[in-house]
């Protein structure tokens, strides 16, 4: 059966991203593995948003990812600092739960 709608499905979009990234990461710079994971995290928050599972803190994480993701291509040090901040923010969310 031809399923034309599946390509618009947010879960399927993430699935495609993960599979093609898994292959791509084998040949690409090591740091790009991290880039794909953090990109996938933002995409996951998108899905959680549609499903009504997001909180303001989670949306802030997504905003931070969107604003800083390109650092990986321009400034490795700043990219890693951004990830450190992100992990800290995540820990705060977990702690307060």
């Amino acid at each position: 059966m031809k399923n034309t709608n599946i390509v618009k499905d947010p879960h399927f979009k993430l699935l495609s991203f993960l599979i093609t990234s898994a292959r791509g990461c084998i040949d690409e710079p090591q740091l790009y593995g991290s880039l794909r994971l953090i990109d996938a995290a933002a995409r996951l928050i998108d899905i959680m948003m549609v499903e009504g599972k997001t909180t303001e803190e989670l949306l802030n994480l997504k905003k931070a990812i969107e604003e800083n993701i390109v650092l990986v291509m321009y400034d490795e040090k700043k990219y890693i600092e951004f990830l450190d901040r992100l992990v800290k923010d995540l820990a705060k969310i977990i702690k307060s739960a």
């Binding site: 390509v7 495609s16 093609t20 990234s21 791509g24 390109v70 321009y74």
Partner: protein, 172 residues
């Protein structure tokens, strides 16, 4: 010819990863591609082939298999090498073909910029998947995607290694 304009275009072109809606006129696409084929190529072999994707659904499908493609471009140009043609370059044919299409790609992006259109070259895409999606024959290899679209966000220029660091006069 105005040298200042050329330098302005070379220095002003940026990789755009956030596009707004807006159809690129066919005549612009034509001009952009024409710039591509006027690139130099080893032995004038011209091993390039370009697939212009404007169909929204197909752009979305290509996005699904291109982890390094950011934003929603209006057009994707799939820059390919015709391996049969590249063979004419001998043992270095394929690596030379990559240099050739890279030069074509730069021309494409510069003319796009001169027309007010943002672009980004993308190597992080699944060649296997794009070949399948676009029915690309075995002897044609996609090398690079170039996204095209209008933008409200021209990024700041990322730093360049200074001339003193990268240029060596007379000997290394």
């Amino acid at each position: 010819m105005c040298l200042e304009d050329i330098i302005r275009v070379i220095k002003g072109r940026r990789c755009v990863r956030s596009f707004r809606e807006g159809e690129i006129p066919n005549e612009y696409i034509h001009k952009i591609l024409e710039a591509g084929i006027w690139a130099p190529s080893g032995g004038n072999i011209q091993p390039w082939e370009f697939i212009v994707v404007r169909n929204r659904d197909m752009i979305d499908k290509i996005k699904l298999v291109s982890p390094g493609l950011f934003g929603d471009p209006s057009v994707i140009i799939v820059v390919c090498i015709n391996l049969e043609k590249a063979k004419r370059g001998g043992r270095i044919g394929e690596s030379m073909a990559i240099i050739d299409v890279s030069m074509a790609a730069q021309n494409i992006m510069l003319v796009a910029y001169a027309l007010g259109i943002g672009s980004c070259p993308i190597v992080s895409f699944s060649k296997t998947a794009v070949k399948e999606l676009l029915d690309i024959p075995k002897y044609v290899e996609p090398i690079l995607l170039i996204t095209l679209g209008y933008t409200d966000k021209w990024p700041n220029p990322p730093a360049r290694r200074p001339l003193e660091e990268v240029v060596h006069y007379e000997k290394y």
